[in-house]
């Protein structure tokens, strides 16, 4: 039975062998015979009419093979980039869905919008020729902020989208909320901004496309989190390539965070162009190009009100948000600030009435879509911030007000007033655990020590829940999903007993090759080393929706679990035949098929061998081979959650916020590999801390220029920004996933921004500060202190 490494163990990650020895194979590592290079010409303007493009100088440049523009796209009758979600307003009117051409046709709508594609013998030649393309722009005023975009007289991106509003979406019982507000003892109000973020995966996006005339087949290698979805959207809806003639490969991918889970125009253009020039083409984005073309995240402006009774019980919650969509609808764009936001506004509390209105707004900025957490960090931030505001206004302790409103463990399953039903959870348990782990009771001592050094110390709580495991197709369909969100896995047992799994999720840093192998090792009793996980190639993997929304283990792992169950069932049939017993009498345990109550047995390897050498099979009831496939569609979301506690120190002289302690106690359900879960939490927390303290995508109003367009101006969190973190789990099991898993990919990013900002506000609360927008930069904190007219002590 070999070296079984199963659920709960922390083996070193299988994939790290190649990653840490420089042997990964990324798109930009791939070379094809006769390969050419492509460069995109992108709009330098936020908003402009395209009056004409003169290709002649670019075409005449050395090495240039072709120059393609929006007119060529139109001539070839190609489709527009599709949006995977169609949301509707309160009256059922569908969202405005203007076309998103893969190369701009009449207008450009953001700095970075693609205008042309230049193909040349070398990247240098392609870049040089791209600079020579003569594009005649009639520059129009840009609008980049949501508040400005909906004002009368604002520049209009699309003629048929009045006031730039894509959809005026709502959720919840407005009347019930109004009634509750009328009888409230206290109403807390908060206006806030959820800052715009840029994902910055370590590997920039890249693609190679090739057309083989002999077989009439296309191959696209792309940095994608979901190659099958790219094949479907691009093949079926944009380029009209039959699915069997299109192979999409997403090999090793260096991080995604959502940025790579969309179908991008670059993929469609390069695939189309490969056939036009009859040679393979490669394009690798520079970091700067990524800044103006990778989909951005967040960007909300929100007003929230919380109604409470005199004891601090939440009666109703009302949230109005303007959400930035950027210049066009990206693959999941309109879903993020609506369906992944409103339903989470209940948090871990028993708030009986909730109403949420989201205006989804077009602006002259890069399209906004999912970024790690996607909608749920925004919801958590609004809720956890306003809970603190209410507590402070009512003079109730921040932990106490949370306790008074938390859903007790016994009340699960719990139906919220905003569609979702939480299956399991224990918010009080997570809170209690975190209070101990963070040594909250001695915070006062630490605060006085800081005060002695002239520093302000603050403690911040975020008790949160999220919805992940995207997604139950039935539920998602009702909300506007245009496709299903299930997952598939094939378990192929080889004649010698080793196992290859083909799965539709995509591993780009999450450790799936290890986690999934542990599941197979445990369930089939085979050696961990004898399990390989295959993903990221539409020719090798049957189908799949890819990796995003903390779904890989929850949905993909469930499909894998189901498929292994089918392997065991088939194995029992084979064992029954070989052992001349009835199938019902065969037991499978620890890699052995045995006849109940006897010592007659066959090992898994023997069964695998027999499956492929069916000399005396009863072929009418038993097929040769041992390979099973399963599709799994979850019945509900999963609801991981927990309690995060941040502790900060503020230097009042410079306004610098230092994160000094961080504690997270999370409920992620069953933990397959504790080391990987801890890593996911660390990474997620760091990204949330990045949003809270450092990261900010800033556009210039009017010109639409991205001012934070490089790592010199967009501040990523770094190791020295962070303390050692305490990360623990306090798990309740998911009641509807096969292994009780809930997912852990996004929890860190969802819980942390509110914890950090609550800590900053706490540190400054003695000065009357009630809110700090993200990121809490030194300049911003200093400005608040100035306005609080603090007599800053000279040292």
């Amino acid at each position: 039975m070999g070296n079984v490494i199963g659920i709960g163990a922390s083996p070193k990650r299988k994939e790290d062998q190649r990653f840490l020895t420089g042997r990964g194979s990324y798109v930009s590592d791939i070379k094809r015979p006769g390969m050419t290079a492509g460069a995109f010409v992108r709009s330098p303007h936020g908003h402009a009419k395209l009056r004409g493009i003169d290709k002649s100088a670019a075409l005449a440049a050395p090495g240039v093979i072709a120059v393609l523009t929006g007119d060529d796209v139109a001539d070839d009758g190609l489709g527009s980039l599709p949006c995977g979600w169609g949301i509707t307003d309160a009256k059922g009117v569908p969202m405005k869905e203007p076309p998103f051409p893969m190369l701009a046709q009449d207008k450009v709508r953001f700095v970075g919008d693609m205008v042309a594609f230049v193909i040349a013998e070398t990247p240098e030649q392609a870049n040089a020729a791209a600079e020579l393309l003569n594009v005649d722009y009639e520059v129009l005023p840009s609008v980049v902020g949501v508040l400005e975009a909906v004002r009368p007289g604002a520049p209009q991106l699309f003629d048929d989208v009045p006031n730039n509003i894509c959809c005026d979406w709502e959720l919840g019982d407005k009347a019930a909320v109004e009634a509750a507000f009328r009888k409230a003892a206290h109403v807390a109000k908060l206006s806030l901004v959820n800052n715009r973020l840029i994902g910055n995966p370590m590997e920039p996006r890249a693609a190679i496309a090739e057309y083989e005339p002999g077989t009439d087949r296309f191959t696209l290698w792309t940095t994608s989190q979901f190659p099958h979805v790219v094949r479907f959207l691009m093949g079926a809806l944009v380029l009209n390539i039959p699915q069997h003639k299109l192979r999409v490969v997403a090999p090793d991918v260096g991080g995604g965070f959502g940025v790579k889970q969309f179908h991008y125009g670059e993929e469609a253009v390069i695939t189309w162009a490969a056939k036009r020039v009859m040679r393979p083409i490669k394009w690798v984005a520079s970091r700067s190009e990524g800044y103006v073309s990778d989909r951005h995240g967040r960007d909300h402006v929100t007003e929230a009100e919380l109604a409470l009774d005199e004891t601090g019980k939440f009666l109703a919650f009302r949230v109005k948000t303007l959400a930035n969509m950027g210049g066009y609808l990206s693959t999941f764009g309109p879903n993020i600030p609506t369906n992944l936001y409103g339903p989470l506004l209940g948090g871990v509390y028993t708030t009986p009435a909730i109403y949420c209105n989201v205006k989804v707004v077009f602006t002259n900025t890069v399209p906004v879509d999912a970024y790690r957490g996607a909608g749920r960090p925004e919801a958590t931030f609004v809720l956890e911030r306003i809970v603190d505001v209410a507590a402070s206004e009512m003079g109730i302790d921040r932990v106490e007000i949370r306790r008074r409103n938390m859903i007790p463990k016994e009340a699960y399953p719990y139906q919220t007033p905003v569609l979702v039903q939480y299956d399991s959870g224990d918010p009080v348990g997570c809170l209690d655990g975190a209070l101990v782990a963070a040594d909250a009771k001695n915070f006062g001592i630490r605060k006085s020590e800081s005060a002695r050094k002239g520093k302000f110390r603050g403690l911040g709580y975020s008790t949160y829940v999220e919805a992940c495991g995207l997604a139950p197709s039935r539920f998602a369909g009702r909300l506007g999903a245009r496709g299903g969100l299930y997952e598939s896995a094939t378990v192929r047992v080889h004649p010698t007993g080793q196992v290859t799994v083909m799965i539709g999720t995509h591993n780009h840093g999450q450790g799936h090759e290890t986690t999934f192998a542990q599941i197979v090792s445990e369930k089939l009793g085979v050696s961990f080393e004898n399990v390989d996980i295959v993903f990221g190639d539409t020719d090798r993997v049957q189908f799949g929706m890819g990796t995003y929304g903390s779904r890989s283990l929850v949905v993909g792992g469930a499909a894998l679990s189901k498929a292994t169950d089918k392997v065991v069932a088939k194995g029992k049939k084979i064992a029954a035949h070989l052992l001349e017993a009835a199938e019902v009498d065969i037991q499978f345990e620890a890699g052995k098929f045995s006849v109940a109550g006897t010592d007659r047995m066959k090992t898994f390897e023997e069964i695998a061998g027999a499956a492929y050498v069916p000399h005396d099979y009863p072929l009418e009831v038993l097929e040769p081979g041992l390979e099973e496939q399963a599709y799994y569609d979850p019945v509900n979301f999963t609801y991981p959650g927990g309690c995060h506690i941040a502790e900060v120190e503020v230097d009042p002289e410079t306004g610098t916020v230092t994160l000094v302690n961080y504690t997270a106690v999370d409920d992620v359900g069953t933990v397959i590999n504790p080391m990987i879960v801890e890593g996911q939490l660390h990474g997620g927390i760091v990204q949330g801390v990045g949003q809270a303290l450092f990261e900010n995508a800033v556009y210039d109003e009017g010109s639409g220029q991205l001012l934070s367009g490089s790592l010199m101006d967009y501040c990523m969190p770094r190791a020295d920004h962070l303390p050692m973190m305490k990360v623990e789990t306090h798990s309740t099991l998911c009641t509807h996933t096969p292994m009780g898993v809930k997912g852990c990919g996004e929890v860190g990013t969802i819980g942390s921004p509110a914890a950090v900002i609550n800590a900053v506000v706490d540190a400054l609360s003695h000065l009357g500060v009630t809110h700090v927008d993200m990121p809490a930069t030194p300049n911003r904190i200093w400005r608040l202190l100035q306005n609080a007219s603090l007599p800053v002590a000279a040292e």
Binding site: E124, S708, D713, M716, T777, N779, W782, A794
Partner: protein, 265 residues
């Protein structure tokens, strides 16, 4: 990056000759600033003249009254130099705060001073210490060298060969790092000499500048308290997405106090 010719002279006159004879040629030292601009196609010189083979541009010497640092000396060498640490610890500290280890291993004092980035650290040390910039043709006092945003007194074809620093009684540098780039959002170098104090500020404006009121106050009393109440005018200070001018002005005072503290410790 566009194609260019590459020269690696071994004598300063040869380097100077190449530089003047090839139009659109450029010196490359550590390449930490130049190479990224080539990669982004912001500059496209026809030839690069690499200074790395000019042995006479490397090394640190002490003549008792001054310390001379060769133009090609990397930041890490200055930061780690026992000599600099002993004679001008504030300058060694400054070098240790530049960029990251990779940048400190490649970037050179000559390249940094020649480039005169408004947020670079060395200009504050060079101006604060009243150093002399030694070039292939002459010597230039720091006060006459830095002319504002990326501008210096260097003539076309002129090569910095060394920087000569007088030895201060005390000197200190305090840097408030820009959050993303970690260049100086505001950096202040303070140096006390027998005949007075010099205070030089980088990061806050279009180029490094001195602060006479602080110099006067510190010459009277070399202590942070002497300048705590001195406010800098926001005129000419930079406002950008990282910091507004009045915040930068405030930081000048805070960092100047901290630089004095560092000099005293």
């Amino acid at each position: 990056m566009k194609p260019f010719a590459y020269h690696q002279p071994t004598q300063i006159p040869d380097a100077a000759k190449l530089l003047t004879s090839i139009e659109d040629s450029k010196l490359v030292a550590g390449g930490m600033t130049l190479i990224p601009t080539l990669k982004q196609r912001l500059a496209s010189p026809v030839a690069l003249i690499d200074l790395s083979r000019l042995g006479s541009l490397k090394g640190i010497t002490d003549d008792g009254a001054t310390i001379t640092i060769g133009a090609m000396t990397p930041h890490a060498v200055v930061a780690g130099s026992k000599l600099v640490q002993a004679r001008i610890p504030g300058l060694a500290a400054l070098a240790s705060m530049i960029g990251d280890p990779a940048v400190r291993s490649r970037g050179t004092i000559g390249g940094s001073v020649a480039n005169n980035d408004p947020a670079a650290d060395y200009p504050a040390g060079v101006l604060g210490l009243g150093a002399t910039i030694v070039t292939s043709t002459r010597e230039i006092a720091a006060d006459k060298f830095f002319l504002g945003l990326f501008e210096t007194a260097l003539e076309p074809g002129e090569i910095i060969t060394a920087i000569r620093f007088p030895l201060p009684l005390k000197a200190g540098y305090a840097k408030f790092k820009a959050p993303a780039s970690r260049y100086a959002l505001v950096g202040v170098f303070v140096a006390k000499f027998a005949d007075g104090v010099r205070v030089a500020v980088t990061g806050a404006g279009a180029g490094v500048f001195r602060v006479p009121p602080m110099e006067a106050a510190l010459s009277q009393h070399f202590d942070p308290s002497a300048i705590a109440a001195i406010k800098i005018d926001t005129d000419g200070l930079t406002s950008d997405i990282h910091a507004e001018a009045d915040y930068r002005a405030h930081l000048v005072t805070v960092m100047a106090k901290r630089a004095v503290d560092a000099a005293l410790s």
